[in-house]
């Protein structure tokens, strides 16, 4: 399942990583090198093995429905690159 540059471009888009056009091919080579190596997993017979969902054999704990948090606007915004009137400010979202 070798990646071509179109696939690398699509994956980079999905991951929101800017990749220069001339960097796509070398990146494809790097990724193919790694993917080729992990494909040795095909040797493993996993018939009947459930995919692991959690390594701890527990089930989800449930929290009691009470308000214990919030009203920390200063903390929420403390590291914001841009803020105004209590909002985070981000580049315009195009509808």
């Amino acid at each position: 399942m070798a990646l071509d540059t179109d696939t690398v471009r699509r994956i980079a888009k999905l991951a929101r990583l800017h990749v220069e056009e001339d960097a796509l091919a070398p990146l494809a080579d790097e990724l193919n090198n790694i993917l080729g190596w992990v494909e040795q997993l095909d040797e493993v017979d996993t018939e009947g093995a459930e995919p692991m969902t959690s390594v701890v054999e527990m089930v989800q704990r449930l929290r009691v429905d009470v308000v214990t948090d919030g009203h920390v606007q200063d903390k929420v915004l403390a590291n914001a690159p841009a803020e105004a009137d209590g909002f985070f400010v981000v580049p315009r979202v195009i509808e």
Partner: protein
Amino acid sequence: MAALTDLTIAEAGAALEKGDFTARELTDAYLSAMETARGLNAYIEETPERAQAMADASDARRAGGKAEGPLDGIPLAIKDLFCTEGALSTAGSHILEGFRPTYESTVTQNLWDAGAVMLGKVNMDEFAMGSANITSHYGPTLNPWKASSGDNAGKDLVPGGSSGGSAAAVAARIAAGATGTDTGGSIRQPGAFCGIVGLKPTYGRCSRWGVIAFASSLDQAGPIARSVEDSAIMLGGMAGFDPKDSTSVDLPVPDYAAALTGDIRGLRVGVPAEYRMDGTPPEIEALWQQGVAWLRDAGAEIVDISLPHTKYALPAYYIVAPAEASSNLARYDGMRYGLRVEGEDLTDTYERTRAEGFGHEVQRRVMIGTYVLSAGYYDAYYLKAQRVRTRIADDFKAAWDSCDVILTPTTPSAAFALGEKQDDPIAMYLNDIFTVPASMAGLPAISVPAGLSADGLPLGLHLIAPAFGEETLLRAAHVLEGAAGFDVQP
């Protein structure tokens, strides 16, 4: 008397209790040692004022007869993956440039509650992705050890990673102990490279709340220290149930130091055939056999075991960990904190922020992770890897029928030179070949310095125990440590 910074946590704690010196004196000794060792680049941010204030508070507690316990007044280095309130917390990444959390991770809060003193934040591979501490935005940390002979004689060596700053700081005596995190070997491998003890607890033993996530199903905090006893003391301070982490296990924290009885008679030590891999240097194999002999001599029963899926742990890890990381790192988007690189529009801002904010190895893993989760590949890669992971966990479960702990080497080599393996990711990944299986199964494991390579560099032996078997693990490690008598310093 030895320099204050040469004392172990246990020794320093006893001396503080006796009043031989104050926590402030101990802290100041470390602060000045840190200044002279800045060439190692172990610390990303030193926090001397905070350290002195914490030390003074410790002294005041002790004077009032209210000392907290063995960690009260002990100066520690904190891996930069832990969020520490008001102190820089960057995960070694440009994308968290300047990030100062308004909150404290549970593990560090537990340590401060136990009276420990924060010296600063230590360097690491970016987002804990690396085995050499060379992917940090803040530059590489150097191993305080130098090879005495061979090709690498005199060269700068890597400390291992990702907790490279932690291991280098503890080995260089610029922290009495340090927190680390281990996802595939990131505590144990640098522990082995720097000649100190690195302990990865059972998944769920230490809270992940406030620890910047790399791969959520694998990440586990643990101590890096100069002795097994110190590791036991530190783990006692770090561990505990945390309702804020759904994967935290609600079990009491034992007195780990009390488990160090020195008696392992009858302990069944498993030696897995599959860890005998092609290309492993003979000195690693020899050290492993030496470890077997030490434990046998101490009264343990040696058992040959099989962990058939061992060789598949590393490739499975390089699907599962990047997959989780690709999602965990999606929040670093330049919108709410950290770096923002303005682009032409929103999407361009996302893409430029993340391309500039993440280093190459992080981007590579985010790409791999995105790919293996994407439509059409999820079953072939991600689900397959998680099935293999079940097989790996089942291997260990079967092994526990015939043994109580497992002994293996920690790493396939001693520390290598800065710049080596840099261009070959798989060669770099292979550093973790012996440590990853326990990570995939969520098991506790420890690396103990056990000898020197032909070139005079430390080598570690690695013990693995069943889930929540930390007491047995530490007891066996303590005996191994005693037998090895590793007392060389960098």
